[in-house]
Symmetry: C2
DNA sequence: GTCGAGAGTGTTAGCGTTCTCATCCCCGAC
DNA sequence: GTCGGGGATGAGAACGCTAACACTCTCGAC
C-alpha cells in the first residue's frame, strides 16, 4: 500500500490541467458527445481501445450530475449548463480512462489483478484531471482516519518542540497524518478536553507529550479502541510510556562531579510533581548514597531559569557548595547567573552540570556540561510504539527507556583543593 | 452489557452512562422484545417511559442493521448474535429518542424548528449513548473538513514553538482542527510536498510559519480554493503575510544604543535570505543613516549561538566596537561569550542588544536587553486572517505588521567616555 | 468438448451525515 | 367550513469512496 497513492502532485512540473481540464469533460451530458474530445486527455482516451463497443451511454439518465438541469425552459440541448465547479471524483477518472470507478480504486490502492495497460491508463487520467482522492469518503467507508492525535502543552522548552517534529516525521513515514491539540496546563481536566477534541476527529491513536502523572491518567481514559502513548513522564503504568532514563542521566551527572573530587553534589530540581524531575532527584540521591557522600536537602522549583536563579542565590551564599547538578539547562542558566552575581566563578569555585543539552548550552558562560537526551528519537520511537499498538503488535508494558549521555563541556572542573 | 457502545470517555464527572442517567430509570430494560433491538440502549429505551406513550414503534422493517443476520438456520431465537461492535450513529440516537435521524441532525446542528421537548429528548439520548458525530461523514457531505493545515519547520527556536500553540488555540476557538506538516529545510520543493500532504487531507486553508520567500512562493502554488497565510517572512506579495515589524524593532534597538552615547552600532545579522533578517539589517542601517553614524560592514551568518560566537570573536578583537545589535537572542548569547573570552565586559566595554526576547534572555550574563515580539499573538492573528479568507471577508493585501517593543535589561549601558 | 481456476473487470451496496422536499398539524382568516 | 401559512417532522437522495460479489474471458487439464 504505497503509503499514499493519492498525492500525485501533477501540477508541479507542467501541465496545469489546461483547458477544459478542471472538471472532467462534462462529457456526462452529451451522450453522443462531440464534446468527447474536448478534454485534453479525453480525446486521447475515449478514442483509445474503447473496450467493447464503448459505453452505449451511461445507462439511465446519468445520475452523475447534481442538479438535474433546472433550466427547464432553456432549449439548450447542448446542456452547457454552468458546471457547478464540481470536484473531480473517481467517476471522472474512470470515465476518462474508460474503466469503472472500481478499477480506479484498485489502481489507487495498489491492489492486484489490474493489467498494466489499464493501470497506466488510469494513472494518466489521474494525472490529467489532477485527481485527488477524497479522504473523508475513504475514512467513512474504511473507518480508518489515518490520523494520529498529538497532545502538546504550551512551553518553549526545546524538548517538546523537537519531539513534535520527530513525531510528525515518523508518523508521515508510517502513513499517518498528525492532528494536534494543545493544553495550557497539565491538569487532568484540560488533558481530558484535548483527548475529547482529538476523538471528535476520529484519530486512530493519541500520543501525548506527557510529563506528568495527571496527563497519563487522563490519557488512560481515552475510549477503548483508541490506543495512547505517553512520552516523557508518568511512572504509574496507566499508559505505555517512553522516555529517557532520567535516573541514569542524573547518575551520570552526579558521578561526573564526584569523580572530579567534589565532596558532595547539590541539586536544584525541577517541579516535584513531574516524574522526570523526581527521577533525576532519585538518580542523584542514589549516586550520592552509593558514594557515601552526604545528601544535601533539595527545594522544589519549576523548570525555569528564574527558578534556578532564585535557588542559586541561596546556594551561592553557602561556601560549602562546590558542585551543583541542575534539573535542566534553564535552571542551570539561572544558577550560573546567581553564582556570577555572588562573585563565585564557575567552574573554579563551583562546578555546574545541567540536563537536556538544549542547543544553546554550549554557549553559556561557561559552556555547560550537561546530560544529552535525543528528543527527536524519542518522538520517533513513540510513533513506533503507537503504530505497533494500532497494528495489534504486542508491546512492552513497562516504560521504554532511552539512554542519555553526558556532554562534557567547561562548567564542571576538578576541585581546587 | 453495553459492550462498548460508546467508544468514549464516559462521563467525565461521573455517571458513566449508568442507570441513573439524566432521566428516569431506563432500568426497565431488556424485557420487551428480546430479539428485537439487541441494540443495547435500544431495548432500554423503547421500554422506558418514552414520554408520550405513543410512538407505536419505529414503523418499518427496520433496515438499520447491516447483515440481516446470516444465522438463518440457527434456532437461536434469542439472537445473542455477537454484536459486530457497530459504532453508534445518528440512527441509534434517533431511535432512542423516538425521532428521525433528521431531527437528531437538526438538534445537533442547532437548527431552528425543533420543539424544546424533542430537543432535550435527543440531547438525553446523545448523552446516554455517548454518541459522537462522525466527522468523516459530515465532511463528505458538506465538503468542509473544518481543519486547517500548519506547516512548521524543524527548529527549536522559541518563536515557532510559541506560534504553534497560539495557532492551535485560536483555531480551536474558531471551530477548526489543526493538522501539521513539517519540513526539514525551507526549500521550495520540501514546502510543496508539505502543501501536497495537507491538501490530501483536504484542509480548508494553510498557515505556514514561513520565514523565507521560497516558502511563500511554494505556498502560492496551493490549489486555488485553499487559501494560505504566511507568518513571519517573505516580502513579495505572493501570499498574505503577517509578522512583527522587524524594521521598527531594529530601529528601536539601534536607537537605544545610539541614545546611550555610542558613536555607532555594529550588527551581527541572521541569514541573508530571510526577510526577517534583512528587515532587521534595514532598520539598523536606516537608523544609523538618520543619525549620521557610520555604517559598519556586516557579515551574514545564521540564527545560531555558534554563528554569533564566531562573529563575536572578530568584533571582540576590534577595540572600536562598543555596541552590538544582534539578529536574535541566540546570536547575542554567542557574542556575549566571545566578548567574555576576549576579556571585554558587557556592558561596560561593549553594549549588546538582542532580538526575540526568548524566555531565558533575562538570565543571560548579563541579562539581555532585547526586542520583544509576541509570537503567540502572531499565531492568533494568522488564524484570524485565514478564517477571514475562508469566509470570503476581504483582507488587507499588504503584510500585516505587529509592533515589537524594546525590553531594557542590563546588557546595554551608557558609553564609558 | 467440458470444466474449473483465476485473472481482469464491472455492479451494487452501503459507510453516517446533511440537504431537499414532502407531510402533517394546528391556527387564525375568510 | 375551507384555505393558507408556518412550525415541527420525516423520507429519501446524495456525498465519494471501498467491499463484496458477479461476471467475462482465457487457459490448461481432463
Amino acid at each position: 500500500m504505497s503509503p499514499d497513492i493519492g498525492r500525485l502532485v501533477p501540477g508541479r512540473p507542467g501541465a496545469p490541467t489546461a483547458p477544459g481540464a478542471p472538471h472532467g469533460g462534462p462529457a456526462g451530458g452529451p451522450a453522443a458527445d462531440p464534446a468527447g474530445d474536448r478534454s485534453v486527455g479525453g480525446a486521447r482516451f475515449m478514442a483509445a481501445p474503447v473496450r467493447r463497443a464503448g459505453f452505449p451511454s451511461p445507462a439511465g439518465p446519468d445520475r452523475s450530475r447534481r442538479g438535474p438541469v433546472a433550466h427547464a425552459g432553456g432549449a439548450a440541448p447542448d446542456a452547457v449548463q454552468v458546471p457547478p465547479p464540481r470536484k473531480v471524483g473517481m467517476r471522472d477518472v474512470a470515465r476518462l480512462a474508460g474503466v469503472s470507478h472500481q478499477t480506479v480504486s484498485r489502481v489507487l490502492n495498489d491492489l492486484p489483478n489490474v493489467s498494466d495497460g489499464t493501470r497506466s491508463r488510469v494513472l494518466d487520467a489521474v494525472r490529467i484531471l489532477n485527481y485527488r482522492r477524497n479522504l473523508a469518503a475513504r475514512t467513512l467507508v474504511t473507518s480508518r482516519s489515518r490520523t494520529i492525535g498529538l497532545i502538546g502543552f504550551e512551553t518553549t522548552l526545546a524538548g517538546p518542540a523537537s519531539m513534535i517534529y520527530g513525531i510528525e516525521k515518523a508518523a508521515r513515514e508510517a502513513g499517518y497524518y498528525v492532528s494536534i491539540a494543545t493544553v495550557r496546563s497539565l491538569d487532568r481536566h484540560a488533558v481530558l478536553d484535548a483527548v475529547e477534541q482529538l476523538c471528535a476527529q476520529a484519530v486512530e491513536g493519541i500520543i501525548a507529550i506527557a510529563p506528568k502523572n495527571s496527563v497519563a491518567d487522563a490519557l488512560a481514559q481515552a475510549p477503548p479502541g483508541t490506543p495512547t502513548v505517553g512520552v516523557g513522564g508518568a511512572d504509574d503504568g496507566a499508559v505505555p510510556m517512553l522516555r529517557v532514563d532520567n535516573v541514569r542521566g542524573a547518575c551520570l551527572a552526579t558521578r561526573h562531579l564526584l569523580d572530579l573530587g567534589h565532596r558532595t553534589v547539590h541539586h536544584v530540581p525541577g517541579p516535584a510533581d513531574w516524574p522526570e524531575g523526581r527521577d533525576r532527584i532519585d538518580g542523584w540521591r542514589q549516586t550520592l548514597h552509593a558514594a557515601g557522600a552526604p545528601v544535601p536537602p533539595v527545594a522544589a522549583g519549576d523548570w525555569s531559569a528564574r527558578s534556578g536563579y532564585l535557588r542559586g542565590q541561596v546556594l551561592a551564599a553557602d561556601a560549602g557548595v562546590t558542585a551543583v547538578f541542575c534539573g535542566n539547562d534553564h535552571i542551570a542558566l539561572g544558577v550560573l547567573r546567581a553564582l556570577h552575581e555572588a562573585g563565585r566563578t564557575v567552574p573554579d569555585d563551583v562546578s555546574i552540570v545541567g540536563f537536556d543539552d538544549m542547543p544553546e548550552s554550549g554557549y553559556f558562560l561557561p559552556p555547560l556540561t550537561t546530560v544529552h537526551q535525543d528528543f527527536a528519537e524519542l518522538g520517533r520511537r513513540s510513533v513506533g510504539l503507537l503504530v505497533a499498538r494500532l497494528d495489534g503488535t504486542p508491546i512492552p508494558t513497562s516504560p521504554v527507556h532511552l539512554a542519555p549521555s553526558l556532554i562534557v563541556r567547561a562548567s564542571a572542573a576538578r576541585t581546587q583543593v
